[in-house]
Amino acid sequence: MIFRNNLVVVSCAGNIKLPLIRDHINNGFGYPNYIGLHKVFFPGDCRNAITVGSYADRDSNLAEMSWPSPFTRSSPSLDLFKPEVMSCGGNINAVYSGGQITSFSSVGLGVRSTSNNDSDESENIGTSFCSPTVANLAALILLQYPSISPFLVKALILSSCESLRNRSRDVPEYSIQGFGKPNKTKALYSQNWRTCYLLEGEFETEDADKEHRYRFLFPDEADEFEVTLVCGKLHTMFDGEKADYVRLRITRPGIKFGTQLMPQVSLGESKCFHTYKAWKRIRRGSKGFWTVEVIPHFFSSISNQRLKYACVITVSSSRGAEVYTPIINLISPKKEEVEVMPVPQLVPSSISSTTT
């Protein structure tokens, strides 16, 4: 019902109770290993929802800065990748007595927000305070692009995510951190050196043998590309049934590379049950029009089932070269109007200052 009404649902991953954390660590099962035992519950386990876990933005004696908070929950299964994103939910310090943890303190480590006392702010910790920040980002995306589907909103948020890393550049497990923390600018806009293509579509059970094909330009200036795919069914919001999926096939054009011939090749084919993200660096020469094919796969033959997908393809230059303008020049039919506009004459600065 939620997704038929084109609404985005953001849910928190849920907290691990503090006495449980104390027992785990006291029994020698330290951070972050015990997080894997505690799975995301309803409504965080809804396939189509965006589930948000928590990371620490300050150091404590348990978790380092930019690593998952000690109380965040983890993915219920390999098939269902939750939480998908991380947001700041605070951190906790363990208080030791005789080598054993007796209690926890979160003073100065929590999230600061408005309190229920007038003109006052309060500080607290928990994954509860992670979902509203991602909901805010989702609302801003919908304000910018009002007609896009919740799946594309989710794909944009996931495509903007950067992996969590501590000071020694270690990355936590993906079943805990999901795709990482979202970047607002990347989710909302393209940059000159980084351009996002959006595509979305829908298959019905009757379309099982069809495939959707898109083409996009990979300019000479670009050398990296990233694809984020989100798919889901509209009629269900709960996990539990065998999921239908889509397959994604990306093909780069055939080229002549020096004297060597490189025929058109597929860059691998990947199954996507609900979220998928891949990144690749492209060597010089693989430029031109690339093809994306989306192929549905239905497990059951019950009619009137709709499988929706949304994909964000990011083409970027690691050297910071201009990627946005060549793409826009190519696809914008208004180009002629822009060219007709008179070019302003450059005036030497000394003359312009006297006239003004």
Binding site: A49, N124, L143, I255, K256
Partner: protein
């Protein structure tokens, strides 16, 4: 003395050391090449190309070294790879005799020589569409890859534009140019497209571009290869409209100076009414603050959104136990004002309660 038997490559089976042989005679190949050459000479109406373009089909995969050597020995330059055994090449027309001489020596793996088929440049549904409605206009993209000369792209562009202008069929411009790709695009009549394709051999592919808009909820036309929309660069204007987020939580402090102006609506399940929605726990007010300001108040104090608060928790306990009913009722009530729903609760031990530490 025992003689070592020579192994012949078997038909249909890839030999371990050699690619499959073509078994097409030189006479047949040279006849088809002269046919291609004479057809190419006849194409001078729009642009007189010093080069000719044709397709060479090989008897085995292009990844074979002997086949790659054949291409090198034939002294042709590769323009496009059509499939794993077929390649589109270009050759200077004046090299006609020398090509035949090279072909005589290197035709072991050459299976066919032919012109590029129309279906290799245009998708079949598009060919039908072009023939059905010759007077209609559309935005087309012409792709020319791996052109040999530096001046060639300019000359092709100029002559096509001149032809279209003189016969009043549309307008075309260069929209992208890189070391291995030239793209011409413009608005032209359907009838002109097939003619340009037939006359200019250098064109590798043609696409009809759909009208570019940002995503709609309708299915994007995908029967034809299509460009996809791109998200825009960041604007410089300040935000004036605030989107609304629906939060199901423990109420809100509606007299807080940072919150009061950004409350779109409230609903209280304890009274089944729009009042009082008071926040006893402090959880709902904190969540609302984060939903409005987007991050920690230490970092940002400029509002970005508004909230709709649905109160269903008090003192850490749930008010309406049927949480699905609460979610669905909230959707029905606020689906036109809020597009985003934020839940900060989770089911623990089969009991629904607000999680706080």
């Amino acid at each position: 003395m025992r003689q070592r038997r020579k192994r012949e490559p078997q038909e249909g089976k890839k030999s371990a050391r050699f690619p499959e042989l073509s078994r097409v005679s030189y006479d047949e190949l040279s006849a088809s090449f002269s046919r291609v050459y004479s057809m190419s000479l006849g194409r001078a109406r729009i642009y007189k190309d010093p080069e000719m373009y044709f397709v060479i089909g090989f008897s085995d995969d292009l990844s074979w070294k002997p086949i790659q050597d054949t291409i090198k020995n034939l002294e042709v330059s590769v323009v496009d790879l059509i499939n794993e055994r077929t390649v589109k090449v270009s050759l200077k027309k004046e090299q006609y005799q020398s090509f035949l001489y090279n072909l005589r020596k290197n035709h072991r793996y050459v299976k066919e020589l032919r012109e590029t088929a129309l279906s290799e440049k245009l998708e079949r549904p598009l060919i039908e569409e072009l023939r059905d409605k010759p007077d209609q206009e559309g935005w087309f993209t012409f792709e020319l890859s791996n052109l040999s000369g530096v001046e060639e792209p300019e000359r092709i562009e100029k002559s096509v534009a001149e032809y279209l202008r003189s016969s009043n069929l549309g307008n075309i411009k260069r929209s992208y140019f890189s070391e291995n790709l030239l793209i011409l695009s413009g608005m032209l009549k359907y009838s002109a497209v097939e003619e340009i394709v037939n006359e200019i051999e250098a064109i590798t592919k043609i696409f009809k571009m759909p009208k570019i808009e940002l995503m709609t909820n309708e299915l994007i036309p995908i029967s034809l290869a299509s460009m996809t929309p791109v998200i825009s660069l960041s604007p410089e204007t300040n935000q004036t409209i605030f989107p609304s987020i629906c939060v199901i939580d423990s109420g809100i402090n509606s007299s807080h100076k940072l919150l009061k102006e950004f409350i779109e609506d409230i609903y209280d399940y304890s009274t089944q009414d729009n009042r009082p929605c008071k926040d006893v726990d402090g959880h709902g007010s904190m969540v609302s603050g984060l939903a409005i300001y987007g991050e920690d108040l230490r970092r940002n104090k400029s509002p970005l959104a508004k909230v709709v608060m649905v109160k269903n928790f008090e003192s850490g306990n749930i008010i309406e136990r049927d949480l699905l009913k609460v979610i669905f009722e909230s959707i029905l009530r606020y689906r036109f004002s809020s597009n985003v729903f934020s839940f900060s609760f989770a089911q623990m031990d089969q009991i629904l309660h607000l999680q706080r530490h």
